[in-house]
Symmetry: C2
Subunit: 250 residues, 2 copies
Amino acid sequence: MYRAIFFDLSGVLYNGSEAVPGAREAIERAQTSALQVRFVTNTSRRTAAQLVTDLAALGFRLDPATLYTAPRAARSWVERHGLRPYCLIHRDIRSEFADLEQQDPNAVVIGDAAEGFTYGALDRAFQLCQGGAPLVGIGRNRYFRLDGQLHLDAGPFITAIEVAAGCDAVVIGKPSAAFFEQVLASTNAAPSEVLMIGDDVYGDVEGALAAGLGGCLVRTGKYQSGDEQLIEGEFACVASVSEAVELALG
Amino acid sequence: MYRAIFFDLSGVLYNGSEAVPGAREAIERAQTSALQVRFVTNTSRRTAAQLVTDLAALGFRLDPATLYTAPRAARSWVERHGLRPYCLIHRDIRSEFADLEQQDPNAVVIGDAAEGFTYGALDRAFQLCQGGAPLVGIGRNRYFRLDGQLHLDAGPFITAIEVAAGCDAVVIGKPSAAFFEQVLASTNAAPSEVLMIGDDVYGDVEGALAAGLGGCLVRTGKYQSGDEQLIEGEFACVASVSEAVELALG
């Protein structure tokens, strides 16, 4: 039934610095099956290279070519459009954008900037967008879970600038259909032959369904009781990634 | 035709520390006419007492009883509901809330906190609202003009918390109909006998129209060319407050 399986990372493979129980075995099982495996993340606090290293330290082995990150996709988009971005991003991913011209900015990029979300920086982003600069969002996640608590992610800040400047952000990463399609294009699967597994009912599951993919919500990570009732459409809801892989293998 | 006239303050009577040309005379003309005069502001960087002093320094004389401020209305709302607010407000209006219990908060109040909008403070507000604490917004203004530039106001931050926590703010102040009705109740005018004058096409004009009042947009303050096309409904659009008072006097 499924020819490809897409995994979200945080909350699915690991929580903070702990692997989800059974996740290593589940990923290996998928990687050694006939399924085409991809990793699809909006994480904008780590570069793609750092993620591969982090995952290795947790015992996950993955081919860097199978990893699709929203910051890298955002960087490509900005470069393709020849823009000079004002980057409201986490200090740890500045290197992903470092080779782009950023003087006299004519675009705004917003990721999970964490403490970088100061009033001054947000006000600057607003003024640029108000003057017509395109707004690029790295994902639109509302919150993430860390150390047992939910925390604000980039989404609400992107919405704040949209509301203030009266503009619509170009959202790169989940739940953008273009991002799912980019990953899909690297496989030979039809949309309906892909199962997207995630803990974010909006970004992972609703986004996947909107792009025509199958969706599977795991009850780990940021999942909260009742999340599966928040969206329309048919999708699976399972205990964790192990069960999700079983489901994909049929 | 009109029995009462409501004036927004910033951008209508003054810009920064300068009175709008002709504004002093216009206010005096209204105050010495048969019109009932009220001042209605969302400003959440100054207490009501400070505003009266500021206005006096600019040559405007007004009875403090005719001044309705959103922070004061928000404070009343919180007190009436017996809540302990986490206040994300400007340091200069902390005194308006100082006598409320704020330990172990079970509500969130957001005004124009300016530099107080840090990631940590917004994250705390999100966590409280996510846990069910009501969110009280002091106005929902998108931006204000200062020293020739537009700057982010409280509205986009209120929206950010709503989006993140999946809640709806109780907005006190313009454009809330309840706030206009509170001011209206202090007059003996019917809604249609009131002209609300402001430079914010959403907060002042759209809000007034929604409450059944007449609206008049002035082309001073934060007004930008084309603002009058942003909303539906019939309202006047004039050069400045002088012309608005003439209009109200018929």
